[in-house]
Symmetry: C2
């Protein structure tokens, strides 16, 4: 089976990219969309992110075989409640949220009798809003599907096929493990980046102008992800609280150990640690999960 009519609720970076990728890779599908922000709806229609931009979530989902919720995770429950009375009984509801246990619970509670299979495409940029999406966002990226224990395997496969058609590679895991994996690969990095950018801008001895001026020394790498959507990330941290706090605790212990090594002048410990971390980047590049060009290829562009 496959989905003919697909509704996208939330037309930002993710929702917009899904719409554009569907148009490119599955041109036979009929797409509708809705965004709570009227200006985003207008812009989504101008860019043709979906076939029809609707003025209510009910209109968008009425005939849909598949609904993909692309709203911040803190808004998932409200979005699900808004569409619930308008869904076909056979419709599948999925999402793209960055945390999965709390979203799964919210969707199941809001959509009694409706099939729910959460998913998370591990892809994005620091941009947000209806102008941010592009059709190749999911190419060579992983989409993690976290089916509930009682999910219909036919629907799981259909959802996986759809994401593969959009360019993604599929992994299936349980929601709890997903939340732990993403806490370390995505949520903790964002929290750290947000923190250090804040620290740097609050100093008295060093001006913000100086921080910006000399950011090529390393700082600018952190500013990219610290420019991500504040609403989305507030919700991620609150909805994946336990795993984030657990990872943060480990990070703090490790940082304290390196801090002590600096304080007591233990060069060997620092050297050993810094040697170990080098290998990870090599693996990431070998597996095609990052660009191998030095300095993210910035110097290719005179930057």
């Amino acid at each position: 089976m496959s989905f003919e009519r697909i509704a996208i609720i939330g037309l930002g970076l993710l929702g917009g990219s899904i719409g554009l990728a569907l148009k490119e890779h599955l041109p036979g599908s009929v797409t509708t969309g809705y965004d709570a922000d009227p200006a985003a709806r207008t812009r989504a229609a101008e860019r043709g992110l979906v076939g029809t931009v609707c003025d209510s979530p009910g209109d968008a989902v009425r005939d849909a075989d598949l609904v993909i919720l692309c709203v911040p995770v803190g808004t998932m429950e409200a979005a699900a409640q808004a569409i619930a009375p308008h869904l076909k009984p056979s419709a599948l509801v999925s999402d793209v949220g960055s945390s999965k246990q709390s979203v799964a619970n919210a969707l199941v509670a809001a959509l009694p009798g409706i099939a729910v299979i959460p998913a998370h495409p591990v892809a994005g940029t620091e941009r947000s809003g209806p102008d941010a999406g592009f059709s190749s966002l999911f190419q060579n990226r992983w989409c993690i599907i976290t089916p509930p224990a009682d999910a219909d395997p036919v629907l799981v496969k259909a959802l996986a096929d759809l994401w593969q058609a959009l360019g993604a590679k599929i992994e299936v895991m349980d929601a709890r493990h997903h939340d732990m994996v993403l806490a370390v690969t995505s949520h903790l990095p964002h929290l750290i980046a947000y923190t250090i950018v804040g620290t740097a801008s609050d100093l008295e001895e060093v001006t913000e102008g100086e921080v910006i001026k000399y950011s090529a020394g390393g700082f600018r790498d952190f500013t990219r992800i610290a420019a991500s959507d504040p609403t989305m990330w507030r919700d991620v941290f609150l909805s994946n609280k336990d795993a984030v706090l657990e990872m943060l605790q480990r990070f703090t212990e490790d940082l304290t150990a390196l801090q002590r090594a600096i304080r007591v002048g233990d060069g060997d410990q620092l050297f050993d640690h810094f040697t170990r971390t080098r290998a990870i980047r090599r693996s990431i590049i070998e597996l095609g999960q990052d660009d191998a060009r030095p300095d993210f290829g910035r110097s290719d562009h005179g930057g």
Copy 2:
């Protein structure tokens, strides 16, 4: 005045890039070089990083008007001692070290009677060694010069002119302030990146394979700078200990505040913080200190 004969001690990323940039922008200059690693000397000669690769530091500096030490900051004093007996009395000695107070002290102690003007080009990539350098490394980057109080202004200007010829923009500040600025813009980011990459690879619940696989969620941005040269960075942290520990203390306080906001569910505090940090990236891009393309332009390359 300008420097006709320039010796480069240490032919890695920085030393090699200076040599190549001199060849391109100041083709009249006569360059010599030395590296303590015989394999690096061979490779430097093959790549033509300098006009003549010498087999001893003494030979490299004998006729030099300017010597630039491009070795890890922990090796600066030994490198200065090795060249001291061979320098012309009129030679100027400079360096490219990432910390300046300790380097300045080491150079002045090792080179009695010789003019010393430390400098730090804020430029680099995660690569190291004689294959890493390229002539455009300093284009549009800042070079911070930290002249001692008694420095000859003619020499300061000559050194600034040289860096400008290599493409850099010049800033002059005192060494103490430099060390504070770099602690926040470069040293702390590297320490944080090294820490989180270590934390991620030590988990039991999440495998290293999973960390690599899903690194596009944010983690991979940190792995770039955590792949930097371990010797160089060990030395930086030990030589700029006070400023690094000071900045680390601020960072930890800020992280603890965000951790608490997550724990108690204070969404407003998180949102306010995340909104504030967005603006900094905008400024960095406006000032030409980073690439504006989303996701560091990775998606342009199908990455």
